[in-house]
Chain length 394, copies 2
C-alpha cells in the first residue's frame, strides 16, 4: 500500500526526540523548573542583532517580489557572491559565486551531495564514530552503503589505521564533522594533515578521487584559542556542507550551502549533479528571504560567549563530581563517559532525577552520553543536584 | 565518478528557464522594455499586506528561538491547528492539526508523498496532460513509473476513457492539478464526480485504494463565478498538496503542506510514511518563521483582481487577433493554439519579435504555447504589436 521503508523511518523515533517529548510530559507533572533537559541541539542563544536588522531592512527597502520571489535553483547570484567574498577574505581562498549552491540547511546539503555522488548501490560512504545519527538515513536514502569507522576513544580525533581499513575500491566519499556533534571535539591540524595524506595515498592506490565531505554547521562555534581551519587547504577534493542553523541561531529557517571549490576533481560536473540532485529531491531554491538575510550577516555569529559560560560551568562541575568528560573545544555538546557500560541504562537512571541526557549508541559509539549545553544557564545550575545524585548511584 | 542521472538532470535546462535566460540576454541588447517575457510563473502581484504585518509582528513580539527555532518535523502544532480551523470553516470539513504535514512548498509536498507511497519500481503514477513538467522528475525520483494520459484538447478537462485505459493493477496514484498549469483550466464538478466514479470502480476492480494526489498551488486563483471545490468531498482517498507560493506570492520562501484527511484509507500509515520520506529527503522541518507567517494569513490572498485584469486584456486582444485560446478560468496562464503544428518552431518565430512564450511539448501536449500573465500589465499592452506581427507570419 505504501513504502514500508518510509513508514518504518517515520515510525522510528530517535532517542533524542523521545527524550525531548518525555521531558515535556514530565514538565507537566513535576514542573518545568524541575526537569533538566539536555537532549536537543536547538540553539537558545538568540540570533545576533544583524538578523533582525537585515529582516527589517529588507522589508522596508525591497519590493515583495524581490524578497519573496524564486531565486535561481542554485541561489541568488549576489548572495553567493557575497558568501564567496566573505570566505575569500576570511580564509584567503579564491572562491566564486558559482562554487556555491544554496540549500535548505545542512540536512539538505548532505542529502543533495550524497545523491549527486552516488552512482551504484556498491558505492560506500565512510563516516567516523561518534557521528550525527541522521548520516545513516541520508546515505541509505542516496542509495549508498554505510561504513562506520570506530571511535578514537582516547582523543576523539580519527584513528587513521581504522579509517585506512574502512576505505575500499568502492569508497566514494568520507564525511567528517568538526567541531563534532556529539563529542564537541575539534579536529586538530595534525588530524587534517594525516587525513589528507591517507586520502591522497588511497586515491592513488585506487586511481580515483576520494571526496571528503566536510559537514560544518558548527564551524564558528569554537572556544579559547582554537583556530578555524579551511579544510580544502589541506585536501583538495573537499566539498563543504554548511548551515547557518547554529552560527546564526536560525535552525528553523533552513538555510545553508554546498561549496564545491575549483580544486575538486570533476568539480564542475559535481556542481551540475548537485543541481540535478536538488531538483530530484524537490528543492526548488533555498528560502529566498533568508538567503538575503544571511548575506547581510556574513562573518557575524550568535554570542558564542554565552555557550562558553555554559560549557565551563558544566565541564568544571561535572569533572569535579568525578565524571569523565571529553575535552569540549567546539559545538555545544559535552560527551561524558557513562558510569556503567550500558549508556542506555545509565540514561534511564538519569531520568529518575529528571535529567535528560542522550545515550551515545545512536552516534555509533557506546558507553557515553551527550549533554547539549545550548540551554539556559540557570537550568544548568539547578541540575547539579541531580547530577550528584546520579553520580552517587554508582 | 558521480551520478550520471543527477548530472544529466542538472545539465538539462528546461525550455522555460532557457527562454527566461534568453530574455535577460535580449533585454541587454534591445532594452528591457522591448522584450515581452511571458515565460515564467513567478508571481508579480505583491504579497498581501498581512504578510509584512505578520513578519513585523513576529519580529517585535516573539523571542528569537520561538520564531527561528526548529519546529517538530511535521510542523508547529499551532500552525497546523490554525490551518485545520481555517479549512474546516471554509470547506465545512473536519480536519485536525495531525492531518497536516508542513513542507517546503509544492515540489517538496509532491516529492515527499510520492516517496511515501512508492513501494516498488513497478508502481505507476498517472498524470494528465497538459501537466507541470517537473511531475516527471518527481515520479522518476521516487522510483515509480510515469504514465501520461493524453490531453482532452476540446475542454482540457479529463478524457475519462483515456484515463481508464491508463489505470492498471500497478497504479498507485493519480496526480491532478486544478486550476491547471499550463492550461489555466479549472476542473468542473462533473469532472470531479466522473473521476471519483472511475477511481472507485477501478479500486474495486483491483481491490486496492487508488490515491488521488491533488496538487493545488493555484487553488484560490480562480476568476468570475468559478467555485473552489474541496476534492476530498468528491473522492475519499484524496491527498492534497498545497503551497502558499502563488496564493500569497511567496514562491521563494518555500512553504506549503501535505494534507492526509482521516477519510483516506491507511491515512495514518501514509502520514507516518510521509514523516519518514521527509526525513529521507533531507527536510528537517518546513521553514519555521514562514510557518508562523502563513498561519496569520489564512484566508488571505494576493490581489487576484490584478491577474484578472491581465487575463482579460490578453485573452480579449489575442482572440480578437484570431488566436485560439483555451478558456482561462484559473491560475495565471493562457494556453494558446500554436499557429503551426510544431509549437517549438512557433515559439522560435515568436522570439524574432522578442516575444517569449513556452512551447507546450514539455507539458506532455504538443501544438500549444503557454503564456504566463503574472506580469506587468504595461508589458502586456506593449506586446500586442509583436503578437500581431507573429499572427501575420501565418
Amino acid at each position: 500500500m505504501l513504502s514500508k521503508e518510509m513508514y518504518e523511518l517515520g515510525a522510528k523515533r530517535s532517542a533524542i526526540r523521545d527524550l525531548f517529548e518525555y521531558g515535556k510530559q514530565q514538565a507537566a507533572i513535576v514542573g518545568k523548573e524541575n526537569v533538566f533537559d539536555f537532549s536537543i541541539g536547538n540553539p537558545t542563544v538568540p540570533a545576533p542583532g544583524c538578523v533582525k536588522e537585515a529582516m527589517l531592512e529588507l522589508l522596508e527597502t525591497q519590493k515583495s517580489e524581490e524578497i519573496h520571489g524564486y531565486t535561481s535553483a542554485q541561489g541568488d547570484f549576489e548572495v553567493r557572491k557575497g558568501i564567496a567574498d566573505y570566505m575569500n577574505s576570511t580564509y584567503n581562498c579564491q572562491l566564486k559565486a558559482d562554487n556555491f549552491y544554496m540549500t535548505c540547511g545542512a540536512a539538505a546539503s548532505l542529502s543533495i551531495i550524497l545523491k549527486a555522488l552516488t552512482e551504484s548501490p556498491e558505492d560506500e560512504i565512510v563516516i567516523i564514530a561518534p557521528h550525527f545519527p541522521e548520516y545513516q538515513v541520508f546515505i541509505k536514502s542516496a542509495g549508498a552503503k554505510i561504513v562506520v569507522v570506530p571511535a578514537d576513544t582516547e582523543n576523539f580525533q580519527i584513528k587513521m589505521d581504522l579509517l585506512e581499513k574502512a576505505i575500499t575500491s568502492n569508497t566514494k566519499g568520507i564525511i567528517i564533522n568538526s567541531p563534532n556533534n556529539p563529542s564537541g571535539v575539534v579536529y586538530s591540524e595534525k588530524t587534517l594533515k594525516d587525513l589528507a595524506d591517507l586520502l591522497k595515498k588511497k586515491s592513488k592506490e585506487y586511481q580515483k578521487p576520494l571526496y571528503l565531505i566536510s559537514d560544518e554547521p558548527y564551524r564558528e562555534i569554537v572556544y579559547d584559542d582554537v583556530k578555524i581551519l579551511y579544510v580544502p587547504d589541506y585536501y583538495e577534493n573537499t566539498i563543504v556542507c554548511y548551515s547557518y542553523s547554529k552560527s546564526l541561531s536560525l535552525p528553523g529557517d533552513r538555510i545553508g550551502y554546498i561549496l564545491v571549490p575549483d580544486c575538486v576533481e570533476n568539480g564542475k560536473d559535481i556542481y551540475t549533479a548537485v543541481c540535478g540532485a536538488g531538483r530530484a529531491l524537490g528543492y526548488v531554491c533555498a528560502p529566498s528571504f533568508f538567503q538575503k538575510v544571511i548575506m547581510k550577516c556574513q562573518g557575524k555569529t550568535s554570542d558564542i560567549a554565552l555557550y562558553d559560560v555554559n560549557r565551563k560551568l558544566l565541564y568544571n562541575e561535572l569533572t569535579k563530581m568525578g565524571y569523565q568528560c571529553v575535552r569540549p573545544d567546539g559545538a555545544f555538546y559535552l560527551f561524558v563517559k557513562s558510569l556503567e557500560e550500558n549508556a542506555v541504562s545509565f540514561s534511564e537512571n538519569a531520568k529518575k532525577f529528571n535529567l535528560l541526557i542522550v545515550p551515545s549508541d545512536d552516534f555509533g559509539c557506546s558507553g557515553y552520553v551527550r549533554i547539549s549545553y545550548c540551554v539556559d544557564p540557570e537550568m544548568i545550575k539547578r541540575s547539579f543536584g541531580a547530577f550528584q545524585k546520579l553520580r552517587d548511584l554508582y
